[in-house]
Amino acid sequence: MALKGNLRDFTVTQLLNLISVAGKTGTLVVEGPNERVIVCFREGKLAYAQVGNDSQSLATVLHRSNKLSAAQYRAIAERAGRISDKELGLLLINARYVSQQDILASLQTHFLGVVNRLFTWVEGFFRFENDIMPPDDKITVRVNLENVIIEGARKLREWEQLQDEIPSLEMALKFTDRPGTNIRNVNLSVEEWRVVSFINPKNTIRQVATATKMNDLEIRRVVYGLLQAGLVEMVRPVGTAPLAPGQVAGLPQSSKEEQKSLINRIISRIRSI
């Protein structure tokens, strides 16, 4: 029977464990709510990974890991044309721009980054296609999955805890008005300052995450820290409440006086119980 199902029933950690223990070779395709991730394995080891249809070129991966300068990256992009990753890798090694180790380490970091994204997915369909591997021109790695699984399990636990603390990203943040709290006296990281600069009851946490280019886990981590420190509190976003001022959900659409009368009737009744 094909290995396919829903992440709600079978987590990514369990999937990777199964692939590792069974020494499987093939491609795992995970379709999340917003994107698709493809991860390839050879004999139970991580070989390759990409997000969506965008297989990052070797030049991009090396540039992102600071192994290629911006000028070198530009030159490759302009002149290399349709050269394959394997050919480009050989050229770069021969030209002594990078070593084979640089290439493998950069790709490994990139692939692990893709896999790590999966650990926070709780929704999505997966299928494992036996014996399907990435195109021949792609460079693959061999990474044991044990450490990946342990790290993933840690992330999953952290994710679950943070989700308990901050269940909805549609809420907004506002600074607490506790006397004596001065944010300038608090040591914040660069990430935290970036989030702090967007704190406003008009902005939902999701909007802050988008503005600061953080994923759900990263923004929850920062917001959790700020909440724990008592610097901010969660509020409903200003201007997004679907109700008119003075109107209360659950009441029939009638005049304010009629609504107040209805509530007063309930109050009288409860007093008389």
Binding site: D164, M171, G250, I263, R265, I266, R271
Partner: protein
Amino acid sequence: MQTVKMVVTGPFNAGKTEFIRSVSEIDVVSTERRISSQAERVKDTTTVAMDFGRITVDNDLVLYLFGTPGQRRFDFMWEILSEGMLGFIVMVDSTRPETFKEARSILETFRAYAPTPYVVAANKQDIAEAWELDDIRIALRLDKKVKLLPTVATDKESVKTVLLELLYSILAEMEGEGE
């Protein structure tokens, strides 16, 4: 006949079913099951879908009280129950600080569902081990404007006070004094 509803929510074993039972004029329609998990075997049964109580206000108006299932694996029911609610009550077991985090999470979830008034009922305040209200407020990170009420869910007068405080908050919201 007009109907309005309030939701009583909170962690497992916070006292939601007892709370509704204390004031409902009908026997609470409770969908309880025997508990299978050892970790949650504090009591024999738990609510898996909802509790349902009723207070007839007059000939034209009925108030329904819905209790949410306390165990997190039934949280798919929460959003359904919260639709169209007048307000909600978050019940907290004052003697079980290990459930406070869960209570805070439930509170935030319900706040995200609907912009309705709410109060927090610190239940089991008649038990010696109950935490003090000020400490519970800090643990739940409740703003000083949020009503945190000492409650004994088996005591009708105590339950009435909680319901009345929620209704006063609803009136205040209508006057534009709410959060």
